[in-house]
Symmetry: C2
Subunit: 187 residues, 2 copies
């Protein structure tokens, strides 16, 4: 079997260049991807997963991942939590819509709580733990948007109106709150 | 040049079957697509476009379309309105997040108003018109979610809290409000 071979070209009837197969002309229409995830509470503690896979292996994150075909965003958020932490969720509402245009990603993040107080690491997690708000390992979070989601969830918990948050003003997820630059591939 | 030829198979290290090229093994990772659009007001009237393309050629819709790579949802909604109706928008807020899992679509619909009172049909529109609320051609709207968005925008205008709407209870965009079934391909 040969290797895939694509080149940029503008298909007939289109107004943008796309990746096209050099052999058969197949057009790869690439569109932004949707990440679905949740800030999961049990009583006053928050569920985090330590990543077993790259990017950012060993860092803590909320359960989240790419939405799959033929599911709703809420179903996707429940599936990701089930896969990464073996938990069942009650989803409460949409917490935030974040946008990371650099990597063509839109993130739909929900507020949720554990349906039952049981959890364990799935194949993509090294550990799963419940953290009291003042115990969250802020220095070891995986992505800028995990910081945003935890901060926005805390604001929601403190009584902010139930309007979804968006990216903090001017932020595009290129930098961690401590000033550390996100390396390409770390998204 | 040969024709594209794909078959369903499960790639190494994956847990789902995907479309794979029979010649080079290229894996087509298909994910849900994001539609970005807006209910656009000018004074108390609402901007609608009559579609010049299939599906639903000749029917009225709000400016909306597939989000492209490297843009934010708001930029995408402004681009679609510019392409379809030659308008510049002020986007006010997120009106609704709809989900159509049958066709793996998530729709982010914004409330917007015209930055200037000028508009004209772009290449994908036969006509563009401002309609007073009681003149909207409800019998000739293109898609179920156009009905939803116009109803939800009216509720927002009437003072509903600024929390994004979701699909009407139990609805998955398979039927127009009059009971007409949406044909496959009409989405």
């Amino acid at each position: 079997m040969t290797e895939p071979s694509f080149s940029l070209a503008t298909p007939d009837g289109d107004d943008r260049s796309r990746q096209m197969c050099d052999r058969c002309g197949f057009v790869l229409y690439e569109n932004p991807k949707i990440v679905v995830g949740s800030v999961v509470r049990h009583e006053r503690r928050i569920l985090l997963c330590r990543r077993a896979i790259e990017p950012r292996r060993g860092y803590w994150t909320i359960p989240a991942g790419y939405m799959e075909l033929n599911e709703t965003p809420e179903e996707g958020a429940r599936r990701e939590a089930s896969e990464e932490a073996n938990v069942a969720l009650h989803i409460e509402r949409l917490l935030a819509v974040y946008s990371v245009p650099r990597i063509s990603q839109v993130q739909l993040i929900y507020r949720a709580r554990l349906a039952e107080p049981s959890f364990s690491p799935g194949p993509e997690s090294l550990e799963v733990e419940l953290f009291a708000p003042d115990e969250i390992p802020y220095g070891d979070l995986a992505f800028p948007s995990v910081h945003w989601a935890l901060r926005h969830d805390a604001e929601a918990e403190a009584g902010a109106p139930p309007v979804p948050f968006t990216n903090p003003e001017g932020e595009t997820a290129t930098m961690m709150p401590g000033g550390e630059t996100v390396r390409p591939g770390d998204f």
